[in-house]
């Protein structure tokens, strides 16, 4: 039922977008606020393994839509908000959410303050990860921008200070210090990741706090920028264990991840129409649970990628990346394909107009560390009766309209 509401809400958003689009040049001149939006529809098809949805049979459950309004109240003060809905396999369900809504007071170029619901920094692209218009590839490299953590790493309720500091002949330094928290729904990616790990039904996810810092150094070497982001958060999960008839009744459970840390280092070099970027990430998770017989929670993962985008013409861009994600478990076998996922991706993006683009993308993948069990039926997957395939191919296509 919730999903049905989500779809009708998305249809309303799309209809509003299509209706508003032709009016915007006039509206921008006459309305006291700026209104912009986008609608994306994608398709995923894999030859083996279901990834980010039921991709083996072909999945259109891959869309996003957003509408924002904003206004400069003075040269220093800006306010705005964006509504966002998405569907990616079992994630999102086209529920309309508040993506960001904040006031931004810029005291000077080197010091500003934002308060409200804010997009979270993380590498060079986390703040814009839902904006298909802003990059060549369809899927960001999952080694550094995993969909399984998206809900806790995309936006937060709180505040940040930010600014751009000139370094006298050494370029400039963009900084952002942030902190806050949020409550996340049971339909979120992090809730589903826990559901996936055992016979659990998650009812609430509470990000008790999130805090961190992001730095981007624009170096004196023209086109080169380097960055680092550190994020630390604590999450409480609660819900019910699944009943096993005649053996164990359903009972409440509590998981506390009191130490979830993410570190990202980034580099990007732009020369003419070529952009080369590389990022590496490490995530440490530590926590406890009251589920009987469960050990202390301890999980580490990491990844890196190397990406190149080239603009062939005003309208046509191509891109390529190699991405490697790996889980680090105690006594883990680095040759076990359930512990890694290596992805070679090739993309072609074409701007039909300034506000309408289409993309196609191929992924040649080895390993299956990032697959969700619930999307790949079979008890004990990937160790049970249905084995995941180590080598597989994913095809993606997507089109986006913006105004």
């Amino acid at each position: 039922m919730a999903r049905a509401h989500g779809f009708s809400a998305l249809r309303g958003l799309v209809a509003a977008g299509c209706t508003l689009a032709p009016c915007v040049p006039i509206a921008a001149e006459t309305l006291p606020v700026d209104i912009h939006g986008f609608v994306s529809q994608g398709y995923l098809k894999s030859d083996e393994n279901n990834y980010l949805g039921q991709s083996q049979r072909g999945s259109f459950d891959f869309n996003e839509a957003g509408v924002n309004v904003s206004k400069n109240l003075s040269p220093q003060l800006r306010v705005g908000m964006q509504l966002f809905a998405r569907d990616l396999g079992t994630l999102g369900g086209d529920q309309i959410t508040l993506d960001w809504a904040y006031g931004d007071y810029r005291i000077s170029d080197s010091l500003g303050v934002r308060v409200g619901r804010i997009r979270e920094p993380g590498g060079f692209y986390n703040e814009t990860r839902d904006i298909d218009l802003a990059r060549t590839s369809i899927l960001l490299p999952q080694s550094v921008y995993p969909e399984n953590y998206r809900d806790v790493l995309s936006s937060y309720n709180g505040g940040c200070v930010y600014g751009d500091v000139r370094l006298a002949g050494l370029g400039s330094l963009d900084y952002q210090l942030f902190g806050g928290g949020e409550k996340i729904g049971s339909n979120s990616s992090v809730a589903q990741a826990v559901t996936d790990a055992g016979a659990l039904s998650v009812s609430s996810v509470d990000v008790k706090y999130v805090m961190g810092a992001g730095l981007v150094w624009t170096t004196p070497l023209r086109g080169l920028r380097l960055g680092a982001t550190v994020t630390k958060l604590a999450i409480d999960y609660s819900g019910q264990t699944t009943a096993i008839p005649f053996f164990a009744p359903s009972q409440p459970f509590h998981i506390t991840l009191d130490q979830l840390e993410q570190f990202i280092v980034s580099a990007e070099y732009t020369v003419g129409d070529l952009i080369v970027s590389a990022e590496g990430e490490r995530i440490h998770v530590r926590g406890t649970t009251d589920i009987p017989g469960q050990p202390e929670i301890r999980f580490d993962s990491g990844g890196w990628y190397l990406n190149a985008d080239y603009r062939l013409t005003h309208k046509l861009g191509i891109g390529c990346y190699y991405s490697e994600y790996y889980s680090v478990a105690p006594n883990g076998d680095s040759h076990d394909p359930s512990m890694y996922q290596r992805d070679l991706a090739l993309t072609c993006a074409y701007d039909i107009t300034d506000n309408w683009l289409v993309k196609v993308e191929g992924h040649w993948i080895r390993g299956y560390a990032a697959l969700l069990q619930q999307e790949n039926l079979g008890p004990g997957f990937p160790f049970g009766s249905k084995q995941a395939e180590t080598d597989w191919v994913l095809f993606a296509a997507k089109t986006t309209v913006s105004f």
Binding site: F38, P75, L133, S172, T218, R222, R225, I275, H314
Partner: protein
């Protein structure tokens, strides 16, 4: 004749010079290339200490392409992508596009916190020009 026409065209391109213009009331007279770069790519909101809240650009075309390439050191596509990121994360509003230099001048006259660029040969009575210098010489660093 064709050769002469080509030489004349090349000459006009070589002589094409851009003026940065602001309101006649603006207190800024000079700024660095880095200031201009950071302002037009949304990193900063001041030019030489003067608050700027509206960026005015020529609608897509040769004048805009040449400005972003020569003064900002980016391609038109990179400029467009930069502003899409700003708009859809709430960090800024698209620059205002004007079809002609005369429209740019009119827009600047109406908003004391706006900045724009025009061809040096275009009339620009009623607005102020900003000298763009490079304190440490050379091209913009980014």
């Amino acid at each position: 004749m064709l050769v002469l026409a080509c030489l004349a065209w090349l000459g006009s391109q070589a002589n094409a010079e851009t003026l940065i213009i602001v309101s006649a009331d603006a207190t800024v007279a000079k700024a660095s290339r880095d200031d201009l770069h950071d302002l037009y790519l949304g990193k900063r909101s001041t030019l030489g200490g003067y608050a700027v809240s509206e960026l005015v650009v020529r609608a897509d075309g040769d004048a805009h392409d040449a400005f972003v390439k020569n003064h900002l050191g980016v391609t038109a596509s990179q400029f467009k992508t930069c502003w899409k990121k700003m708009v859809f994360t709430g960090q800024g509003s698209y620059p205002v596009s004007c079809a002609t230099d005369a429209d740019v001048v009119e827009r600047i006259k109406k908003d004391k916190n706006a900045i724009g660029y025009i061809d040096a040969a275009s009339p620009h009575e009623g607005v102020k020009t900003v000298a763009i210098g490079e304190p440490d010489g050379g091209q913009p660093k980014r």
